[in-house]
Structures are given as C-alpha cells and as structure tokens.
Symmetry: C4
Subunit: 318 residues, 4 copies
C-alpha cells in the first residue's frame, strides 16, 4: 500500500502533500482529526447532522427544547392572529392569558398530547392545528432519532499513552508507545501503521518515513498493546538529535485499524506525537495486575506512566 | 482483478460489454450512475424507497403532506357517509362544516392528537377511528423514518475537477485530474483505478485500457488529491490525436474507493471525462493556502482551476 | 481459499459434507437458501424477527392489526371487569355497548389518541390506562420499526437465466449462464465462483469440482453478465454424458459476491442449476438494445432466452 | 498475520501478553469474552447502552416501566406542589385522590395520550405539562429504540461441541472439535484459526502455538463443521502428556470468522477449550440425518456427542 522511495524507509506522500512550503502546525490533532480547514463552501450539506451528533448532550437537549418552544410559539402567533376565539375553552379575555392559551394549545398540538380542554373550533384553526401536528410529528422524529443515534453510536475509543518514549530494547533502543481499549467493546484483528513526517533539510518540503514495527498486528486486544519501533540503522531515528527533530517539525503519525466485535464495525484511530512529546531514555511501567484469583485487571490511567532511566543505561544500551 | 489482454495495457471488459455496435452515449454519467436504462420490468419493488430518499426535501415534504391530507380526507368521507351525527360535538347542521368537521376529526385521529372536542359516539365510528389511528401510526412511522434516513444518510461526496488535463510531467507528459472531499467526513485508505474506453478502429467494438497511475493509493485525504497517469510508451494516450480520441468515443472512467471514518463505511465514487473534457497543455493551480498560523486551508472551488501553458512548453516537454 | 485436491479441478468439501450417503435433494434452492433442515431446537430465538421481515406485506399488516385488536380487547376485558362505570362518558347501560365502549376507549388509549370523550375516572382505571399506553407505545415501536425495516431493507436481487447452456465457444464448447441486476441499485466489484458437485461413481460420496471461468470478476454490472466456463480437458464436463450427470446428481452451484453502492453493503447471491436445467447445443440471445439516442436498454425478461443450434454446429465445434 | 517464531509452530503473542507471571485463569470465557477486568475508569461512557441491550428482556421492560413510573411521579409531585387545583377536572378534595389525579394526569401527559378529562388550567401547569410531554417523547424514543434494537439485533450464534477430542485420523491422531450454526441465518465464507497457549516450563511466561488445520476455510456452513488439527511432528500436541498440559495451563483458543448473509455482516466467534475439556481416544458421532425425502436434517444437540474408543484403537492408530 505504501510505495517505498529510494533508499531507507522513505515513502511517498500518504496524502498530506509534500510541497507545502514553510512551517505548518501539526498534521493530526490529538482527537485524530486532520489539522486542515476548508473555505466556507465545505460547510454546506451534511454538517448539521454531524454537528447535532457531536455537540454535548446538554447543548443538544437545549437545542431540541428551543426548537420545540420556538415552533410552538410561531404557531401560537398564528392562532392568536386568526383570533383566539376560534379555540374553544378560552376562559377569560385578558390578552396575555389568551396568548398563553394559544401557546399552550400549540404545545399540546405539537406534541400530539391534545387534551382537548382547548380545541380548535373553526375550520381555519383546525387546519392550522392539523399542519402543526404534522410538523410536530416530523420534528420529534428527527429530534428523537438524533437522540437515539447519539445514544447508540458506537464509540470505540483507544487511549494512547501521553508520550512516546525511546527505551532500551534488546541490544539497542526502540521507539515505543502504547494504547488500550477504553471501552468494554471487544476489539480484534488490530493492525498498526506508523509514519514519521519531517521537513527536508534543504528545501521546506515534507518527507515521509515508514517506521517499521516489531509487531504490527495483534489478533486480540484484551489488554494494552505496546508498539515497538526498533531504531535500527535504516530507521530515520537512527542518527537524529532531539533538537533536529524539533526543528524539522517531526511528527509521528499513527494509524490503528481493527474490528469492533461488539458493534460489528471496522474501526480506525489516528493519533500523533510531535517532537516535544517524545521522551528519551525512559521505560514504561506495567499497567495491569493479576488479582488474587488469577484474573488480569488493567489499570487504564497507568498506561501513561513511564520511569526515567539513569543516563548510563541508555548509553550502555547504545 | 483486471486481467490484462495481449500487449499494451488493454484489459478485458470491466462489465460494460464489448460488442455493443454503433455509437453509444457516455458510459458513466456525471453523477456517477451508469448510463443504461432498463425496460419497465426493472421498475418494480424497491424503487419507491430509493425514489423517496433521492427526491429533494421540498418535494418529499409535499408528498408526505399530500399523503396525510388524502388519507385523512378518505377517512373523512367514510365518517361522513356513516353519518356525521355519529361524531359528538357537531355544532351546526350546515353540510360543509359538517364534512369539514369530519375532516378535522379525521386529521386529529390520524396524527393521534385526539383533542376530543369531536369524538366518535357510535361503535361504528369508533371502529373506523381505531383503524385510522392504526394507519396513521404506520403512515407516520414510514414518513418520519424516511425523513430521518434522508437526514442521516452519509453523503460523502468527492468533488472532481471539471476537466482532466494533459500537463508536463518529469521529462514527458501526464494525464492529470484532481479531487477533494466536499464534506467534513474523514476519508482514508483511498484507492483509485482509471480505465480508458475507446471504440476500435476496425469494428465498432469497445476496447478497455488500464491507465496506470503514478500513485494509486493514499492513506489519508485531508487535502486534494491529484491523480497522475504518466503518458509513457505503453499508455494508450501515447500516440493518439485529440481528433481520434473524439471520433473513437474515448472516455476516461474513474473509480475511487475508500473508507469514510466518520460514518464507518466503505465509499465508492465514479466519475468520467469524455474526450472533449480533456484539456491539453495546461497545469493545475494550487488549491490550498497556508494561513498566518501555519494552518492549511483548502479552497474547494479552486480545484477546477488550471492555466494554459504556452505551446512551446508542451513541445519542449515532449 | 479453495484447496485443490489430487489432479483435475477437484476441490475439498466447501461445507456441504462429503460422506452423506444415498441420494439427496438439490443442495441450494432456487432462492439461494441451503436445502437443509434443523430439528426444532434451531427454531428458537431470532426467528420471529426474521419471520416478520420475510412474510408478505399483507400478512404483516394483518398480523399487526390483529395484535393491536387483541391487545386492545384484552385491556377492554380488564376495564369491563373493573366496572365500566369507572370510565366517564358511558352513555347508556346496555351491556354490549358498554363493553364496546371499554374496547374503543382501550383502542384510543393503546394508540395514544386519547379523545377523552371516554376517560378513566378511578385510580385503578387510570393505572390500567397508564399501563396500556405504555404497552401501546412499545407495541407500535416494534410494529412500525418492522414496517420501516421491511420498507427500507436493501434487496439487491440478481436475476439468473433459467437455464445454463452448453454453447460453442472459440474452438470448443463452454458452459454458460447469465445474470442481471433486477434493481436500480448500482452493483460493483462483482466476483463469481462456480462449483460442480457430483456423487462418486464408486461410493455414494460427493465430489466437488471448481469450474474455472474465463472471467470471474467484473468491475461494474450495468448490463447483464454472461459467465463462461470453457470445457477444456481438465473440466469435469469434458467427458461426461448428460445421462451420467443426472445419475450422479450433478449440481452447478454459483456464488456471486459484490458491492451494492446504493446501500453501501457487500452482497452475496447463491444459485444452482441441477443436471436437468442444463441445455446442450444452444446459444444465448442478446438481452439489450441500443435505442435511437445511443442509450443502452436492457430487456430483463430476455436474459432467459436462448436458441437451439442445429446438431452439426455443436459437432463441428467439438 | 501471525508471525512465526523460531522452530515449530510457536507464534508471537496474539495480544494477551507473554510476561504475565504466575498462574492466571482461562483467557477466553465460554461466551467468547476475554477474561480480563478493568479498573473503574473503564466503566464510563458507553456502557449504559450496551448494558440495556444485553440484559434480559424482562429486566429491560421492568426498567423501562420503572423509568416511566418514576418520571411520571416526579412530575406529579411538581403538579401537586403547584396546587392540584391548577388542573381541571379534579372531582374531589381528598388528598390522596388529588395526588393520584396529578399522577394519572402526569402519565397521560408523559405518554401523550392526553384524554383531557384532567387538563392543565393555569399557564404554569401548562408549561410543566409541555415540558413533560417533551421529555416523555424523548424517553419513549430511547426506550422504544432500545426495544427495537434488542429485537432486531443480529445474533448469529455458533454452537461449539462441549469437548475437543483426540481421535484417530488417517495413520495418526488429530485434535478435533465441531461447531454448528444455531440460527437460521445463512453463514458463508467461514474461516478458522486455532491457537494453543501454554505456560513455559522454565519461566512462567506464556507461549503461543499455531495449530494448523487440515481445512481452515469453508465456503458454506449449512451443516456442522468439524475442525481437524492433525497431530503431526511439528504439532505442540505431539509429545505432551495430559498431565503436563494441565500443569502448563494449556488452553486451545479458537477464532471463527465469516459472513452472515441474512444480516449482511461480518461475524466473529471466539471459544476456548482448557486442558480438562480435552477428551482423548474418542470419536464424534454423526449429527445429521437424511430423511425419507432425501433432505438433510441437522440434530443440533448431537454435536456434543462422542463415543470413547477401546484403548487399543488409539494405540494402534499411533
């Protein structure tokens, strides 16, 4: 899938463009989205739906309630203009109450409760009420459909360690980071691809390098998964100083894919570490325990934990 | 997947048929559908559903409202024939009102608002009302289900440049076109296949040729993607005049597939350029900018833009 | 995927079992299902849902209406036993009407229409009515959900020619059959696999043979697709008489898979031809036309049509 | 996908971790879930939805009814505090009834039945009722959505034989177990992978071994499927005593994947046999019959059945 270029592990552009010119921000945001914007023409069409799925639940309920109140009020105005007397059950003539009666009749129609204590008396009021009931049914179909979609949407979520580390590995060093499944979903057939992007020394073009992993696939993901890129001779990390990595806007882009057996879906996760999120000379601390019954217990918050090694360890490892 | 034939890049029929005989219209329409019709027997079964999803939203609402009004009216006729007096709350004896009362009672039953200002008084009227409420619930289930499906249907949409161009490339020329993601959906693992179809010089049969791309896969699609078919010796474009391409009904068929990570679905797009949509001796203009913060901003409308090159450029490139 | 066995094209059991012993019926029914039954333990669990999706729409509506009437009647009995006087609006004391009033009140509650002309007056009646409204909402959720699922379920349907034929092909003969898309769905990336199953001459075990196709994949399926298995020396059809094929319970099993781009789903179709559905010495008749505008029009019913060839054609072809 | 290690069939960790240390429980539970727990932080977010889908239907209905009653009661308290006189139709002043009236009015509003025998009379009561109808619609959208999801969720379920057996096979022995489709769903393109995990003799680390199958794919699964791992020289079972397998916590992990053509989904099943579930010197009994019409009938419960062989059979087979 990735076409190798020339020597080393340099690969062709995986889709971000090579000739951007000048310094840019990170390519992949911490939430996995691409750090790219579009001019307004892109904000058409499907975005309302996505927006309504992505906002937090409180905002969503408020928006739904706001829509309900505003549409009911709009119809209330119509009933009031038609003449409140066309609704039965109007008990007093004070104007405010009268409009409020229109409004509450309107809400009762919009939600199809229809107590009937107030009811349309004229053909015109009846026609408006029929229209309102129709619109109310459509409105609540969309609102409740969205609520259910939000509720039922599969959210397999991988937790990545806050830092990638460079740790001793066999007789050398390796770049490592780890991840765990934050949900109770069963994840399977996971595979990983890791790409380093750095700007070129000579021009400002970006170069992309494949970081080969010791193990790029696991059948199951019941625990944490530590991804290991051994820093061998052909690795772009082999002879680069921390300072150079920062100057060249180095970014480690990670693409994980797998199968969520609970929701029967292929899942993808994207993540990236920029140069300053890389910790040298460290070692991850174990993130699970065996309890007294022999059962494995994962401690999710511990996957971020690493311990710094004394300087000589790294040197001797090297 | 595509079996090569004989020499060059000629491939076997990808499904359109080779022995059509005589001139035909373009094979793939601009919206990606196949330019093929069926006799009536095909317009059975599933088409109503597709039709109701594909018509524009205004037409859909009108149809739903029409269905609501007509079904309510049909039941109103039944109530009227049964005798309007079987509904309580009939306030006057004038015939028109009386039918209108039946109609508005009917709408109130159909939408399950049921104010009760008018209510069925006889067993027969009650039975009809029970049936109407049942049918109303089924009707609105389908209408609101369709509305929500329309609203939530993933519409990953690729924008293709209006023209394919023949531009200088390395030491020669290449056929190029580009595409961008019109939505905010995250698209990944894109792959492309490009096929040229031309009628044969000798007989009227169609021949199909694979157009090899410099890069036929990208991992991410955050920006635009320019597809490049270098016109090397084995390319069917190598020795063909613009006139010949038009006469032989040349059409460049494009098949893009990828994964929409927002909607968790595999997506496909089809597009085609016929001979007269091919611009020779041109170069695409860049369609994105880096803003002051280093963020990349795509300008969707610019992906169509190209500039014509002075004639000598092409010649010297050749 | 299919492991070849010994010489020829014999393959290992694709899942039907080899040692069945004795004559059995066809393995794949004309609707693509397997001709296998299970003892009762299999008819548990999920079958109600599948059953309700598969029955015809009239039966489904009748069942839904029956459920509505029966549940309403059951609640009516409860109201009647509690005492009809606990419902307001009872206008007369005749017993029949009184039960009918209970029944119609019950339907109005079950559908949540709730006119209120009859309404619960006692706490007990109110509690029963609350329960009925709750159950009514759940009942209609399932009934309307099923109706919408039935309506929106993708039904990509392939039409296979009624017969497989043995036709002249190049310098020899070939087994051919064809298929077309009965819907307006866009089908793509079709692939086919054809397996011959025959009982062994010596024992009654089944043998399975792969029938190699001249072209087993097409990128698009806008028209019909004729699948061609050339009867070469290694084909199990090479030296078998029609009579022998019938005696050995020969069955040609076809497995088509592809991608339905309209419903964004992988689709599979299964079909089979038994020995007596095989026509020798015939040729398919073209099933599409080019209309006056150059547009291709498929004639679905024509895909079954073939013409018998004079005997000598086949002989000379042979 | 699985990287072989050193000699034999040892493979790298498929995701369970190698350096666990000490004895642990079985890795895969009988229901296919991983025998791993997480600390509390994992029980956030999506679990309510999964929980509500997984509990049994009785519990679900009770929870839904409980939610309905409690929310209605909460609103009843509000109506009662606002003053029961703000609702019309209060027929007597006794406090209990009055609160009950509030409650039943509340249920009628929550379910949008709205008889109107009791109806809000003041703006405040009307506003609360409008809010309650809104919340009731959202509540029932989620409750009925869940009910329908539970009802319609595809549940392809494989039945595995209770025991794996070691049976004579060709000139040697083989590890065998079998499975059948418990549903009427059509399953296709099945593939299997079998992994043995054992703790190391020297340290407590786990080793993983691939168990090669005689046939690891079948195209169809209409009947039962017997999976056969021939115990050849490179098999980890070749020279291991039953006692050693138990001491080393041997576990045979099975991963089946396939395509459910009825629900158009990829399906996975996991299962495992621990050492004590392995029966030596046995043979499976046939689990299907051919009825008088030549139709194959599977007997699901029989797939567990095996017969023990006389000792000499195994010895001579060896």
């Amino acid at each position: 899938m990735i076409h190798k270029k020339k020597g080393s592990n340099r690969i062709s552009d995986p889709g971000f463009g090579e000739k951007v010119g000048g310094r840019t921000q990170r390519l992949i945001n911490k939430d996995g989205s691409f750090n790219v914007q579009s001019d307004t023409s892109r904000f058409a069409g499907h975005n309302i739906y996505q927006y309504l799925l992505e906002i937090n639940i409180g905002t969503f309920i408020l928006l739904a309630m706001g829509g309900f109140v505003m549409l009911s009020a709009a119809f209330a105005v119509v009933y009031y203009m038609v003449g409140p007397e066309s609704l039965s059950g109007q008990r007093d003539a004070r104007e405010l109450h009268s409009f409020l009666d229109c409004f509450y009749f309107s809400t009762q129609t919009f939600t199809t409760v229809g107590y009937g204590a107030i009811a349309p008396q004229t053909p015109l009021a009846s026609a408006i009420a029929a229209l309102e009931a129709f619109i109310g049914l459509l409105f609540f179909a969309v609102a409740t459909g969205l609520l259910y979609s939000r509720f039922s949407k599969p959210k397999s979520k991988l937790l990545f360690s806050n830092n990638a580390i460079i740790a001793p590995f066999n007789d050398g060093k390796a770049l490592m980071f780890r991840l765990a499944n934050m949900r109770r979903n069963t994840l399977m057939e996971m595979s990983a691809r890791v790409i380093l992007v750095m700007r070129n020394k000579e021009d400002t073009n970006r170069n992309f390098y494949n970081l080969e992993l010791q193990l790029d696939k696991v059948v199951f993901l019941p625990l944490t998964w530590t991804l290991v890129h051994p820093i061998a001779e052909e690795s772009p990390f082999y002879n680069i100083t921390p300072q150079e990595l920062i100057e060249r806007d180095g970014e480690i882009m990670i693409l994980i894919s797998g199968f969520d057996d609970t929701f029967n879906q292929t899942v993808h996760a994207r993540y990236s570490y920029v140069a300053k999120e890389l910790v040298r000379n460290a070692r991850f601390v174990r993130a699970f325990q065996i309890d007294e019954e022999g059962k494995v217990v994962i401690k999710l918050n511990d996957i971020h934990n690493y311990e710094l090694l004394p300087q000589e360890t790294l040197d001797s490892a090297k």
